[in-house]
Amino acid sequence: MRQIDPDFLALPLRQLADAALQRARELGAEFAAFRLERVRAETLRLFDARLEGSSDADDLGFAVRVVKNGTWGFAGGITLTPEAVAEVAAQAVQVAEVSAPLNREPVELAAEPVHEGVWVSLYDVDPFDVPLRDKVALLGDWSAGLLAKGVDHVSASLMQVKEQKFYADSAGTVTTQQRVRVHPSLTAMKSEGAAFDDMRTLAPPVGRGYEYLTGTGWDFPAELAELPDLLAEKLAAPSVKAGTYDLVIDPSNLWLTIHESIGHATELDRALGYEAAYAGTSFATFDQLNTLAYGSPIMNVTGDRTADHGLATVGWDDEGVQGQRFDIVRDGTLVGYQLDRRMALLKGLGRSNGCAFADSPGHTPIQRMANVSLQPAEGGPSAEELIAGVDDGIYVLGDKSWSIDMQRYNFQFTGQRFYKIENGRLAGQLRDVAYQATTTDFWRSMDAVGGPETYVLGGAFNCGKGQPGQVAPVSHGTPAARFRGVKILNTVQEGGK
């Protein structure tokens, strides 16, 4: 098991926390939390096997969050001395005081046991220990391989993040965590006459280290070997005929549909209206808890902050709540929401399920997504068996364009590859495909869920929410699944051509 980097532990973490919490107490705060974090991110981009740009940035700072007279106050700073930290704690109290006249809903927090501990995510090779030239060389080799097989252009990128957090609050919780994530991606491009198209690797971002690029968790050489021929086939494929089709959706596409139509829709802050002016609300309103038929009876969805290699996996969240696994949809019915401590108490739901997160030291924690995953069917079908049950349909792989409305009803997705299904067999690729549906209609149309062998953890580094805007990494596990009677658009016709 890896350890937290010594240079982070060498920072005067407890001394600074003590200074902040003591100052907040002196100024009358009912609750105070101190969070010091360092987020290091390196990104490199290649185009046609040449380095186009790279950046290596870190964000080191701290935040003090208080409740004073029932109102939140938050302040962030960068100077790591007890005096500066105490001053920022005083600013947080001042912010609470200035804001109090606007607050009509006193802040109270759900109880949480006191924790003290250290947690490190599962990875083997710290990507920041690998020289930049080695990473460039690997992506360059992969790109050159694609160019040698006849694609016109290749873009390649690698994003790597190491996130270190120290948290201490006035209840006595003290935690220190470190997690690592990587996202390699390559896109091949090709034109044929006036037609242009591209195809991206399906490899998802993961909570792993550099070993992900060298054979652990994904077979990049195998995927890249197929890409040029798949792209050539796509360019020559017929345009889809708009209509209604049965769909078999691969995890590489379905994770994003889960994210948008289940993940966000079951965030309690959205259901209660806290995001009404920005990210939106949710059709899954609180009065429908335990009654809403979200999907068909074979639909089971969990929220999970403990999944191995999950991008939203933590030891404790940014309110000191231990990572947990919980049900969101059971046998097709809405049974749970993602919570933070304030909302858990506000709605009488007991303990928070640990979904508070801040993306940087300068931002306040808000309710963010757990790894929300569709559970596979024990002994369920393979993708081929799902396809075999379709007479006239489409098999969807890879995510691309996505959009959903502000209450998570109406969505439209495209993908990387679409195959025509005829009489239970794949019959070549199609172009210009988008699927469009209403969330509950879509999930109620799911008539088969794949078995555990089809289950893959997809995800994203950059789920956006909140004002000021914050980004959060999150994974979504899903098996392949089959849906009946979904509306398919022809995107060229939609463009009026």
Partner: protein, 455 residues
């Protein structure tokens, strides 16, 4: 140390052939509210040192926050090592030459929670009025000041202070079935009239009391300035010269090259950026923290002036680095942080355009805009917070929301009326882009692809 001293110390250290040093000083303050009550708030301060080292034609870029004076050499050393390890940079050019600007020595500007001194009580009054009037207010106010200092080993020293303020106000009926939105972009909040904005929201919620359900289809549509801004910002972000030249975008010419010079709009529409434009002033020189398709670290300090992207309806320029300009044979026209669209002189106000409409839809804003097809720049997204039916020159009710599928480029060719431009806050993209001046547009056949049940 002052930011200027950090720049000088980083430049003075030995090692690389050339160096660019950027210091960003940021202060922010924000208030967020929902259901007539405060939800979150905060102030924060940040300081970031970015060192771009050049060894031969290799570059190394290292960026660190909260750097203390004794850590500057570590950051510079890391950038120097990265430069020595790097492959030659395709965009390598001689650094922009220059000298210290007259304002170089001024300290960084700042903001604090005090910027809301007048706004907070006005919001409190608005909450009370909304409560009494059966409305719930939701929204966000943010003020951010970025002071950036750029120095190069070729002697250039430039700095810019950029205040950015935004206010979003969203009113809903208690049952959440009616919703209206207004937004304002501001430099300092002194020009924000909460009571006037709240009155607009109250009027729109009244309009929404009569509900009319319409089917998907193509409708004559009035796009208000904020919705136009969201579409044009996406067009602008998609106007990279290099991607167009490589055949990857709507601005690629079939067979090779770009569409610069082609007619995009039948009406004499101008789309341009101008760092000096009053109300939307922005930095007058390029700041690039990392090279990309549309940005080059070698261009740091490059002077920016008014740049026409579309002139008289014709595509005039694309977003360039000095390198991509050489590749494409076009003018050196880097990105600028504001966007202005204007039509023929004498354009009507939105109210006048409503009065001149026999039957059509009036939108409030667009949401969740995403690209479906880069080749046509087909975008999808939703209408949000009020689609109103206009009949015989008056708003007669509220219509259901729609999902649209439209290309802003194709749309330009179909616009039949361009109204008077005014400063506006885009809804979807105001996290990234707030400085816009846009007109309302009349589109005879906006493609509402399907109905959204969202309120």
């Amino acid at each position: 140390m002052t930011p200027q001293e950090v720049v000088e110390r980083a430049l003075a250290l030995p090692g690389a052939d050339d160096r660019v040093v950027i210091v960003d000083e940021d202060t922010t303050a924000n208030l967020r509210f929902a259901g007539n009550t405060l939800t979150t708030n905060g102030v924060a301060r940040g300081s970031r040192l970015t060192v771009i080292s050049i060894a031969g034609s290799g570059t190394g870029v290292v960026s660190r926050s909260g750097v203390t004076p004794d850590q500057i050499a570590d950051v510079v050393g890391a950038a120097d090592r990265a430069a020595r390890d790097a492959q030659p940079s395709e965009d390598a050019r001689p650094l922009v030459a220059g000298e210290a600007a007259a304002d170089w020595d001024r300290p960084a500007e700042e903001t604090s929670i005090a910027v809301f001194r007048d706004l907070a009580p006005a919001l409190g009054e608005a909450f009370a009025a909304a409560e009494a009037g059966g409305r719930r207010l939701y929204g966000f106010a943010e003020h951010l000041v970025n002071s950036v200092f750029v120095g190069t080993s070729t002697g250039l020293r430039r700095r810019h202070d950029q205040p950015t303020g935004r206010l979003e106000l969203n009113a809903k009926s208690p049952d959440m079935t009616r919703s209206a939105w207004v937004g304002a972009a501001t430099r300092d909040f002194t020009d924000v009239d909460i009571a006037a904005l709240d009155a607009t929201l109250a009027q729109r919620l009244e309009w929404a009391k009569r509900r009319v359900d319409l089917a998907p289809g193509r409708y004559e549509t009035l796009l208000p300035p904020g919705a136009v801004a969201d579409l044009m910002i996406y067009l602008y972000w998609s106007a990279g010269a290099r991607d167009a030249f490589d055949g990857r975008t709507v601005f690629s010419k079939p067979g090779g090259g770009t569409r610069v010079g082609e007619e995009l709009a039948k009406l004499p529409i101008d789309l341009y950026s101008d760092p000096a434009r009053a109300g939307v002033e922005c930095g007058g020189f390029t700041v690039s923290h990392a090279s990309s398709r549309e940005s080059s670290v070698f261009d740091n300090g490059f002077s920016l002036g008014q740049t026409r992207w579309i002139a008289d309806g014709k595509l005039a320029n694309l977003i360039q680095t000095r390198h991509s300009a050489e590749v494409t044979g076009l003018a050196e026209t880097p990105a600028i942080d504001n966007l202005i669209m204007e039509g023929p002189a004498g354009g009507k106000s939105l109210e006048e355009m409503i009065a001149a409409t026999e039957r059509g839809l009036l939108l409030t804003c667009l949401w969740y805009i995403r690209e479906v097809d880069p080749q046509t720049l087909l975008l999808t997204g939703l209408t949000r917070d009020g689609v109103y039916l206009v009949e015989n020159g008056e708003v007669t009710g509220e219509v259901n929301n729609f999902r649209f599928n439209e290309s802003p480029v194709d749309l330009l060719s179909r616009v039949t009326e361009v109204g008077a431009a005014s400063q506006t806050l885009p809804r979807e993209w105001n996290d990234y882009f707030t400085r816009t001046i846009m007109p309302p547009l009349r589109v005879p056949d906006f493609n509402m692809s399907t109905v959204s049940q969202a309120n």
